[in-house]
């Protein structure tokens, strides 16, 4: 008795203090009616929580959230829904959470097929554990949502597909070649074979196992059937609100879900159309990096200023936060529909800005090469998030497979 009441007292006090500077939040009188439940405001970082939403009329749904080869940023984006997160709790039993793996796997295995209503999976598929869990969740879930750039496109981890020697080359580099590891080997006189992580190891007390790394990083839909996609690195709150709205409508009011294959949170136009900058479609005669332009014009298209922005080949939906910060779009929301080759589509868009039309032949191919030679790593730059989905998919050693 006592300490909890003290905590309550402390927080009540802190609320009063906070109220002086924070924008006051409307506290709707609970309980909210069901119709209200679907109205999550899309744009506010804090508002949108519906107090007393309560359990759905037909009981809570089972929700699984899992991460494969991701970074946790997708999970943080769900946390960033702030108080709306409490409504996810009203709506669902969370039968799995991203940090859960093999142990909880037993419980998932024990469930009937289809017993999970929605499985939200983020991260790419880069090892045997990722693949196994994706397949298991697909089997148990009615709806699988591919969440975030890694699951949808491969994301940053898929840049590993540009390593010609695959997982062996990566392991050798990380455990043998980097200077901190090399110094350990040299100082200790140990051989790499004795310390290299191994999928099965006989410790004195028993066998210890690790998952197998793959050579090629894949998207979720290259591994299992996917019902919905929500792109972004990470998805923005606006996109997440759309997903939650659809789920709340489905769970509380029996509303139909969008057609299978829908990409949630995007618009049928390019990022340029939601970017605040105006375009002059100037011809590109020089390419610059953002740090080389000391005074970026905040209102003018970055391509017009010679900065390689991927917005023209990227779908709208994120609200263009990067270009608002004077940085080019890097394409994390993926290609415009129905384009699937994001990198090539951006190449084309940028090439069209070179002054090489028949009546305007101010530039020959050599000049163009010279400009584009500024882009030293076109694959890494134009496919920063979409390597798994590209036609290129991965690099191999010449003479190899």
């Amino acid at each position: 008795m006592g300490f909890i009441d003290k905590v309550k007292g402390i927080f009540k006090k802190s609320e009063k203090e906070a109220a002086t500077s924070a924008p006051a939040k409307e506290e709707p009188a609970a309980p909210a009616n069901v119709a209200k439940a679907a109205e999550f405001p899309a744009d506010s970082p804090i508002n949108g929580y519906v107090p007393g939403l309560g359990a759905p009329p037909n009981g809570k749904i089972n929700l699984a959230i899992y991460w494969a080869a991701g970074c946790g940023g997708c999970d943080v984006s769900l946390l960033d829904t702030d108080e709306k997160i409490l409504n996810i709790g009203d709506m669902s039993n969370i039968v799995m959470w991203p940090i859960a793996a093999d142990g909880k796997e037993k419980d998932i295995e024990a469930m009937a097929d289809g017993e999970i209503t929605v499985a939200i999976i983020n991260g790419a598929i880069r090892n045997s554990e990722n693949e196994h869990m994706a397949k298991l969740l697909r089997k148990k879930a009615q709806i699988v949502v591919s969440y975030g750039a890694c699951a949808c496109l491969g994301g940053s981890p898929a840049l590993a597909n540009l390593v010609p020697g695959g997982h062996k080359e990566i392991l050798n580099y990380v455990y043998e070649s980097v200077p901190s590891s090399a110094n350990f080997l040299a100082d200790s006189g140990k051989k790499i074979g004795d310390v290299m992580p191994s999928v099965k190891y006989e410790a004195p007390e028993g066998t210890l196992t690790l998952p197998v790394l793959y050579d090629t990083v894949k998207t979720l839909d290259q591994t299992v059937d996917v019902d919905y996609y929500i792109p972004g690195c990470p998805p923005t709150q606006k996109s997440i609100a759309q997903l939650l709205n659809a789920l709340v409508g489905f769970v509380y009011k029996g509303e139909a879900l969008p057609p299978k294959g829908t990409v949630v949170g995007v618009q049928a136009k390019s990022l340029c159309e939601e970017c605040h900058r105006h375009k002059e479609n100037r011809r590109i005669t020089n390419v610059y990096e953002p740090h080389e332009v000391l005074n970026i014009d905040y209102d003018l298209c970055l391509l017009d200023q010679g900065i390689l922005c991927l917005g023209a080949g990227t779908t709208a939906g994120c609200g263009a936060p990067c270009t608002k910060a004077d940085q080019p779009c890097r394409g994390c929301y993926g290609p415009t529909q129905p384009v699937s080759e994001q990198g090539a589509s951006i190449f084309t868009a940028i090439a069209s800005l070179f002054p090489v039309q028949a009546n305007d032949a101010t530039m020959d191919e050599d000049d163009m090469d010279e400009i584009m030679s500024v882009v030293k790593d076109p694959l890494g730059y134009f496919y920063a998030f979409s390597m798994s989905k590209s036609l290129i998919k991965r690099a191999v050693k010449e003479g190899g497979q």
């Binding site: 300490f3 906070a18 409490l86 793996a101 554990e129 350990f184 191994s198 953002p290 740090h291 790593d377």
Partner: protein
């Protein structure tokens, strides 16, 4: 209202191997394997990290200016830390430093990042163990249980304040998760007066909230004798390691920039080195049973998984930084540091504080400092200075960027050619520093808690508390969904077949 439940009922098991899988950890998945001897006491325990994405290798061939966005994707919980360490390494590759105005903006961004991260960890991850108790019914031992016990005021204040810290980062870096702030020699965009006013009001709220958090900690944890007994029990969460952290002016607490300082078992300075010399002081061992490496002090050497003067294992993260620093540059945090040291001095401890669970306390002192420092930056009349980029810089050479990530000292080391293409890349990330010590603590806690084949969900949770104190990346944010932190312990016969599954939801 009942107080927290510390102990729950034990059950005798007929097995010599206990697998705790999954556990919270950095980047993805993890498990603990506990092996028992004939008497049912713990022989040994392993903390395994079964994932590798290979960033160090696939960053080679990329443009070096891309690396602060690519490496932010190492971790979506502390992308701000990677982004900043990487940006500093990129500065080095361009043989430049940020302008004064850019440095200030980066510093503001980074202190807001610390506040977000530390709030998420303390409330979403750590507080259920203390507010509800390590042995409380598993179904309530999560942040929803905490909110249920202390009221929605708490939840609202936590979410709102963390949201403000995220908002500051987004205003500076475009997005809080995976920011686009840093460019070589500077930041991408300047702030205006309106931004400054908004940021200052958020930062001031953050200070008040951090102080409130300290009051909560003192009431809930230090006000409960059972917790103090657990925290200060040298047989559970305790090891005499070295400690590492950045050193500010006069060895003050520092997150952003400075030399690296290491103190020994009596809190005397062992090393102080320039970031560019880190390879003379730190190396990374590996073991065949985990993908995570084991950093150690190179001059002492890697002798295996134990701590002491002759073992090179060191710890990083909040407790380490509080042990390493001699002072804190902001008043509220300094007075809390004095109180912290006085508290342990009364227990007869004059050197470093070696009790792992004191990390939670250290984290809140840091939260106060980060918030105070954000106020200092946000109040600076030069914050809106537009001189944010260095003119005429070219790439070519090596750059080393070291910051204190919320979870420990973070090293980024790149080499690029004159075209700006990366030719070598090495990283030692925050949590990795603590890999050896986490293994030591997990084994020690398991040995101290499990005897005579008797285990319980609460005891296994207390084994988990050993690594949770370190806040292994990702657990901070992910614990907070209203579901649960699921945990299943499979108790197996020695042939591997399952005897019993204890599930906590």
């Amino acid at each position: 209202m009942a107080g927290p439940i510390v102990w729950d009922e034990k059950k005798k098991v007929d097995t010599k191997r206990i697998t705790v899988d999954p556990i919270t950890r950095l980047e993805g998945h993890g498990k603990i394997e506990i092996f028992l001897d004939d008497k049912g006491d713990v022989k040994n325990a392993y903390w395994q990290v079964p994932e590798l994405r290979g960033f160090e290798r696939f960053c080679i061939g990329r443009k070096v200016t891309e690396l602060n966005q690519i490496t932010a994707r190492l971790c979506g919980v502390c992308p701000g830390a990677h982004h900043l360490a990487s940006t500093k390494a990129i500065d080095g590759c361009y043989n430049t430093k940020p302008t004064e105005a850019a440095f200030r903006i980066r510093d503001l961004f980074y202190n807001a990042h610390f506040v977000h991260s530390h709030i998420a960890h303390f409330y979403a991850l750590a507080s259920p163990d203390f507010v509800l108790g390590p042995g409380s019914p598993a179904a309530t031992r999560n942040v929803l249980g905490v909110v249920g016990k202390v009221g929605l005021e708490l939840g609202g204040a936590v979410l709102r304040t963390r949201s403000k810290a995220q908002r500051i980062q987004a205003m500076i870096g475009g997005k809080a998760t995976h920011p686009v702030m840093g460019v070589p020699g500077g930041v991408a965009i300047a702030l205006n007066k309106e931004d400054q006013r908004e940021i200052l009001s958020y930062a001031e709220d953050m200070v008040e909230f951090a102080k409130t958090t300290m009051a909560v900690f003192k009431d809930v944890v230090l006000g409960n004798k059972e917790y103090v007994d657990i925290i200060a029990n040298p047989d559970l969460y305790y090891q005499e390691s070295y400690y590492m952290g950045l050193a500010g002016k006069d060895n003050a607490l520092e997150f952003h920039d400075g030399p690296v300082r290491v103190v020994d078992q009596s809190r005397k300075e062992k090393y102080k080195f320039d970031p560019y010399d880190y390879l003379d002081y730190v190396a990374e061992a590996s073991e065949p049973w985990t993908y995570e490496k084991f950093p150690y002090l190179r001059k002492i050497g890697y002798k295996g998984l134990y701590s002491g003067p002759d073992s090179g294992l060191y710890r990083a993260a909040p407790l380490a930084r509080i042990n390493v620093c001699e002072s804190i540059s902001t008043p509220e945090a300094q007075s809390e540091l004095d109180y912290f040291r006085g508290f342990f001095k009364d227990l007869g401890i004059d050197g470093p504080v070696n009790f792992t669970l004191a990390t939670h306390w250290a984290r809140i002192i840091e939260m106060i400092h980060a918030a105070e420092r954000a106020v200092v930056n946000a109040s600076d009349k030069d914050l809106t200075n537009s001189d944010i980029k260095q003119p005429d810089i070219v790439p070519g050479g090596r750059g080393v960027g070291i910051v204190e990530a919320p979870r420990g000292t973070l090293f980024h080391d790149y080499v690029c050619d004159e075209n700006g293409i990366v030719t070598a890349c090495n990283m030692i990330v925050g949590t990795t520093n603590n890999n050896g010590p986490i293994n030591v603590d997990v084994a020690r806690a398991a040995k101290g808690l499990i005897h005579n084949f008797e285990v319980s969900p609460g005891l296994l949770n207390m084994v988990e508390m050993a690594f949770r104190a370190y806040d292994p990346c990702n657990s901070c944010a992910t614990h907070s969904l209203p579901g649960q932190m699921p945990l299943t312990a499979k108790i197996r016969y020695s042939d591997g077949s399952v005897f019993e599954t204890i599930t906590r939801e």
